[in-house]
């Protein structure tokens, strides 16, 4: 890659690092794995940078890599997501009540992978139904049904704790 192309690449990635990492963390629920996911996503993007720049929506291309990596990553990824809730290593201290915000993380971890990805892409990354379908490589109908099922499950899992979080949010 030429120095100019590489500079473009670093600029693009640096500007999206925080958000990309947060998406990764929401998808997998584990800080270290989120680091690994972002790192491997960046590497993959670098290797395809020339082609990626030709994509009509680079951010969508990036999300696509991240989501696929999350599903493709090494063995026992899911078990680690679930296990981490009771291991001593926890993320940085939260601003709000630990119990309430943990409830969201716990609920996300309990969603089936497909529903979790749809919920995060649509409501955290603000992708439309069409864009989400393009990232995940599935149909519009699928995204719609996953969204509604995901919302129903989240509501059930969160119970009362959602009110506390919503009340204490700016």
């Amino acid at each position: 890659m030429s120095p100019e192309l590489e500079q473009q690449f670093v600029g693009y990635v640096s500007g999206r690092l925080q958000r990309l990492h947060r998406t990764a963390f929401l998808l997998c629920g584990d800080a270290t794995r989120a680091d690994d996911l972002v790192q491997s996503t960046i590497i993959s993007l670098y290797l395809h940078w020339r082609r990626a720049q030709a994509a009509d929506n680079l951010d969508r291309y990036l999300h696509r890599i991240l989501v696929r990596r999350n599903i493709d990553e090494p063995r026992r990824a899911w078990s680690r997501v679930l296990l981490m809730q009771w291991t001593p290593e926890r993320p940085a201290p939260p601003a709000r009540s630990v119990e309430d915000t943990d409830a969201v993380q716990t609920a996300l971890a309990a969603l089936p992978a497909g529903q979790r990805a749809v919920i995060i892409l649509r409501f955290f990354n603000d992708l439309s139904v069409e864009q989400t379908a393009a990232v995940l490589g599935c149909s519009l109908g699928n995204v719609k049904s996953q969204t509604s099922r995901g919302l129903v499950t989240l509501r059930r899992l969160l119970g009362d704790s959602k009110h506390e979080i919503l009340r204490s949010s700016p």
Partner: protein
Amino acid sequence: MTRDEELHPEHVRTLLLAVPAPAPRVDVTRAVKTARRRARTRNAVRAGLSAIVVLGAAIGVVTAVGQLGAGQPAVGTAPPSVVAKTPPATPVSTEPQVGACQGRVLTSPTRASFGEIRGGDPSGRYVIADGVQGFDKIAAVLWTDGTPEILPQPKAANAVQANAVNSLGVVVGTGFGDSQTTFGWVYRSGATRILPKPSGYTFTLASGVNAAGDIVGAAWSRDKQDVAVLWPAADPERPRVLGAPELAWAFDITDDGSIVGTLNDGGSAYAWAASGTGRNLANPTGTTGGKAFAASGDWVVGWVMPGAGDGAGPQPLAARWNLRTGEATAYPHIAGPAKSVSLGGDLIDADGHVVRNGQAYILPRPDSAHAEPGSAVSISEDGTVVIGSAGGAAAVWRC
């Protein structure tokens, strides 16, 4: 439903923002360096593959089945010896070379757009993978001599993941149900069964199984820290919690009953003798922490961290231990975790390379339909069969 119970889509964003996400520890400059190295490797692989094809045509050799080390160096001009009984005594290169293996893509059972290959058994006959059916239904797939089947799921499960398979085709894994249930399961003689929980524990998972059918894994509950668990083949209804000084998981069990795993989720690699006595696996000099993921005979593999972190988030190194001699090796140029090991000590690294005598080998793509080289996940006991993926499909290589 009352209005108060509804969860509006606009609230979801607020809820997601409320999750306390940690700061990223990713260094873009470092990632670029790694990517540059991979780009060089990739180009070298392509060059190496063309060299093999040209040579094959020149001397009329159609297949290049032989020792792994008989492959063409990724960079270089020396022609490969196509069939060699012993690896050539070439110095170890920090760049991966192309292994002299022949690959074959396995038939896919579903229209899985992203199924992950989970592993293979010590004989090389069986392959396990995640199969994605439709969009979010995840099932376990088992290939027997190349023929795939989707394993039946326990009723309680909405997703299952296969973690290991033994040389008789017994598969173990993790199942996920509603309300955050996680349970270990075993597939044997056509049926999938949920493993019993050790008394006092709510959740389990099964990570490894040996030829006799002894299963190992972990158990935990909300108020109890994780413990390593053995389901003995002789009495599977009575799981045994393995003694450990701290939080522990077991990942694999050898045919003679040695169990490997970790203390404190990466605090150190750990092993239990068949008698149940546990011990730390000593760290290779200059390294810290670790997990032992797989074992075969006396060899154990996993990862350790380079001791002096450079502040940019150190990457785990592939590590190998010998249970009998106490030998412990960390490979400075080979990414951890190592996922699988043969009786001879050949291992599979985190980049999907086969590592023999400290030298990493890339698997050649199985056929011209796949642009990318293969990625290994598991190696057979005798080191001649490698399981992995190529171009998004399951593949098997003979080396």
